[in-house]
Symmetry: C2
Subunit: 158 residues, 2 copies
């Protein structure tokens, strides 16, 4: 299982895949999407991240629609996990960990049950420096293990 975490850590950049990227371009305006939740991934990832959703995905989360409707898109943006010397100096103790520079790779899950039937109805896309990389099958290695929640790790944070 260590391997799974490592693949996630590397942003699944292994290029020994034949499939083309599932999205040619980053979904427009994703940085403006509503917040689903936040997380810190430790170990080799060492990031702090936000999970955003398009309107279809966020509405589904809030209303408990399950499985996620067609057209749902969930985005993961992340930054280096860094202590804030600036904040800690003011608070007088080591307390504050903040978002540093963006990590390489913005990731998306796109629900299209027919198109992505082979990976649970979701396509997985990653963009490194805004360039698409092939990804779906390597992401699905972990996501398939949470099938009972429609392959989605993140729960909505109210």
């Amino acid at each position: 299982m260590e391997q799974l975490g490592s693949m996630m850590a590397a942003g699944a950049t292994n290029s020994n895949q034949k499939s083309p990227p599932i999205l040619a371009a980053i979904p427009g305006g994703y940085r403006d999407w509503k917040l689903i939740s936040v997380a810190h991934e430790d170990a080799s990832l060492n990031d702090i991240r936000a999970i955003l959703g398009n309107d279809i995905a966020v509405k589904a989360y809030r209303e408990g629609t399950f499985p996620f409707p067609e057209g749902s898109i969930i985005a993961r943006i992340s930054w280096m996990y860094e202590p804030s010397e600036e904040n800690n100096k003011i608070f007088g103790r080591t307390q504050s960990f903040i978002a540093g520079p963006p990590t390489n790779g913005v990731q998306f899950m796109i629900k299209d049950s027919k198109k992505y039937a082979a990976t649970g109805g979701w396509g997985y896309a990653q963009f490194n420096d805004s360039k698409p990389i092939a990804l779906s099958s390597s992401c699905f290695v972990c996501h398939q293990l949470i099938k009972e929640r429609d392959f989605v790790f993140t729960r909505y944070a109210p």
Copy 2:
């Protein structure tokens, strides 16, 4: 300085203040606001948080408008910082820390240079269980120490 962190930790719920709450009700729709950044506050706070902004504040961040324009509102929502047993089991290692139950208290900074001249041009509001509590002067104890950035701790995470 330890005291400052403790006040922040307690959500500044000390009630020995004479001033009334600066906002009577939570700004409508704040949970839909755009994401500014994320952070983890350790020690007694032990939260993971998102900083959201209304359109005026986010536009200012993105365009580098400084100081923040009148009407800017910055929101802090936070949740208990918790390991995700569910995720860690799948990844095969202790890696994932996620948003647990919401912490008590949603906080806002509202820019109105005249109205809140005594606290650097920002009013500070907190709502516990949706009820407003008096707060401005206790928040300003820390925020005044970051005057060179218009009293705002959080930087925009691109």
